[in-house]
């Protein structure tokens, strides 16, 4: 197990280096000369060449990458192209708390609704409630954010007019409700489905029958014996659930006018602001890889039956 953890801990930074190099190389491939963007198009070619050499743009790509990444790990991602004179850092980190709060709210909705519904459906397997829950998960999982956003907006904003639809005021502002709801719905479906499946699995175990025959109350069995065990597979998907929020947040932040990372990414793509795109990709990937590492390493603590190891053999 220790060997497995060590191997993962060594492989993770290597993986991040490779991923960031690929991103860096791809962006070098993109059109748009940073020097010509700074000067005007008809600048003296010799001056342009001199600036290129001074900026290190004539060095081999590996050297440029090493320079970039050594700055990046110290938190310096360079300058934005679109917003002259602003660093990528200040642009991104102003927006991270916004998206983080929105994601947290969405995740709370997913977990807060998904686990109870899944548990409830499984405990009453075969009943009308179970059928309803299963149908809802099927619908919620396959309905894209593209549909849920306009429907929710149309209903709450245009027809009922009870909830605000635009802007941002932090975690404890009513303006977070609709975007978090929309962003959380697919997660509710996924978590309900997972919880239901794993609860059904747990319910049929011998130790549940033992607990019943001991005369424990259903309440204690449900919370202490069933829930604790059925929740494990759900926890492991939370890393992926976070990643799933990413592409949804582009759409939701755009629709609801939320100044988060998703909207910044979208603007950067529109403006071909590659330093920001690169920084966002590297940061997003790091977050994702580390989240999965944490989930994997946390797994044996949640479920002592699991022994890590066996390398990367999956399937």
């Amino acid at each position: 197990m220790a060997a497995y953890i060590i191997r993962r801990l060594i492989w993770t930074p290597v993986l991040l280096l490779i991923v960031s190099f690929i991103t860096f190389a791809l962006i070098q491939f993109a059109p748009g000369d940073p020097v010509l963007l700074k000067l005007d198009q008809h600048a003296n070619p010799e001056a342009v060449e001199r600036i290129r050499t001074n900026m290190g743009l004539n060095d081999p790509i590996v050297v440029q990458y090493a320079r970039y990444i050594s700055k990046a790990v110290r938190g310096d991602f360079g300058q934005s192209i679109r917003w002259q004179g602003r660093t990528v850092n200040e642009l991104i980190f102003k927006r991270v708390p916004v998206s983080a709060q929105l994601s947290l709210a969405a995740l709370l909705i997913s977990v807060g609704l998904g686990i109870p519904i899944g548990l409830f459906a499984a405990v009453r397997q075969g009943s009308v409630w179970d059928t309803i829950a299963v149908s809802i998960t099927l619908v919620g999982q396959s309905f894209p954010v593209f549909l849920t956003v306009p429907v929710v907006l149309w209903l709450f904003a245009l027809k009922l007019g009870i909830l605000p639809t635009h802007g941002w005021g932090g975690f404890f502002d009513t303006r977070i409700i609709l975007p978090a709801l929309v962003l959380g719905i697919p997660g509710v479906a996924i978590i309900t489905r997972l919880t239901r499946a794993s609860t059904l699995d747990v319910i049929s175990q011998d130790y549940i029958r033992t607990a019943r025959s001991k005369g424990l109350s259903e309440r204690i069995i449900l919370y202490r014996h069933i829930l604790r065990n059925s929740i494990i597979p759900v926890v492991t998907t939370l890393g992926f659930a976070l990643a799933g929020l990413a592409s949804g947040s582009f759409i939701v932040e755009f629709w609801f006018g939320i100044p988060g990372v998703g909207l910044l990414a979208l603007e950067s793509l529109f403006n071909l602001d590659y330093p920001i795109i690169m920084a966002l990709t590297i940061l997003g990937t790091s977050l994702f890889v580390i989240a999965n590492l944490v989930v994997d390493l946390a797994y044996p603590f949640l479920d002592p039956r699991i022994r890590l190891g066996g390398g990367y053999i999956a399937g």
Binding site: L15, L16, I18, V19, I22, T23, L26, I27, F29, A30, P31, G32, L138, V139, Q141, S142, F143, P144, F146, L147, P150, L153, W154, A157, L158, T165, H166, L242, A243, G244, A246, S247, F250, I251, F254, W255, L266, L269, F270, L272, Y274, I277, T281, G284, T285, L287, F288, V289, Y312, I313, A314, G315
Partner: protein
């Protein structure tokens, strides 16, 4: 003599594998929801393929006298702000969906995924390590970030090359028909998607390789490619078929998201993503809801049917699901 000896087992084995797939397919046809979904998906795909034949207008025919109209007899889904027929544009958008999803599926999952999975599982060692590590790198990017970054960086450059080529040769339809967009997006989706199936196939190969019948085949002198083709492949067909529906849905969504962001398909080539983007504000939702409604409903119907179909296929083809 030799011909007879090798031909008999071929006959037996193909019959066996066909009958399993055939049985599964029969099971699938008994599921009403799955069959309805399959019919809807097929209709949408056929409409996309036959787009120029089944639509009453051209996708770029502008008619300002009927701009921004709601649904009517002559325009069942209404018209957009340029007076273009929404139904026509949606059907042509489905053509885009068909091209992207089918190309990515065939190239990405079916070809690369299966071949690399077979190689990785069967030969092991260095080939396995390389393929699996490369796959891990491609799956380290969260969600569709890899597709996004490839399309955002590679497409403008390739467009530049093609434009130079067009200027030099006088050809003018490569960019206009969206061929560059299609190619680059399908390429990016292929890079993004091959690993899932490759890993799955590899897992199956590892199981099958140790089985007695593979060993027996090896013992009577069957070649590696024959063992892979006759003994390993039939075992991976079911999981591959199960993965197709979800794969197509994922490709369709990815294309829509990219085009919605403005880096995927470029106008005037129609895409559901572009149409949904044009309907993505409260003003349109309030004044011309049909501009938002119909493209979004089309996408939803497609994804919903893929989801139901996927569940049905899984029940029918997955021996463990029953």
């Amino acid at each position: 003599m030799r011909g007879e000896a090798t031909e008999a087992p071929i006959f037996l084995e193909t019959r066996k594998s066909r009958s399993y797939i055939g049985l599964s397919f029969k099971r699938l046809l008994r599921k009403k929801l799955a069959v309805i979904s399959l019919a809807i998906v097929s209709t949408m795909y056929m409409a996309g393929v036959l787009a120029p034949l089944v639509t009453p207008y051209g996708y770029d025919d502008q008619d300002y006298s009927v701009a921004n109209q709601g649904p009517s007899f002559s325009h069942p889904f209404g018209t957009d702000r340029l007076g273009r027929d929404m139904l026509t544009r949606i059907v042509f958008s489905l053509r885009t969906t068909v091209i992207i999803t089918v190309t990515s599926l065939v190239a990405g999952s079916l070809f690369l995924g299966i071949v690399l999975g077979l190689i990785s599982g069967y030969f092991g060692k260095l080939a396995d390590t390389i393929i699996m590590r490369v796959g891990e790198v491609t799956s380290a990017f969260p969600d569709i970030f890899l597709v996004l970054i490839i399309v955002a960086t590679v497409k403008p450059t390739v467009n530049g090359w093609v434009r130079t080529f067009e200027d030099a040769t006088g050809i003018d339809w490569i960019i206009r028909l969206g061929i560059v967009d299609y190619t680059v997006i399908a390429f990016a989706l292929t890079v993004f998607s091959w690993f899932g199936l490759a890993r799955l196939v590899r897992g199956q190969v590892l199981q099958v390789r140790e089985n007695e019948y593979s060993e027996a085949a090896r013992a009577i002198g069957a070649s590696t490619s024959r063992i892979l083709w006759m003994h390993v492949l039939p075992n991976v067909i079911s999981p591959v078929i199960i993965s197709i529906s979800a794969g197509l849905a994922a490709f369709a969504v990815a294309e829509v998201v990219l085009s919605w962001m403005g880096i995927g398909i470029q106008p005037p080539v129609p895409s559901l993503g572009i149409m949904i983007f044009e309907g993505s504000n409260l003003q349109v939702l309030r004044n011309d809801p049909h501009l938002t409604l119909f493209p979004v409903l089309t996408l939803t119907l497609l994804l919903f049917c893929f989801s139901l179909l996927g569940d049905g296929v899984n029940d029918a083809f997955n021996p463990r699901a029953r």
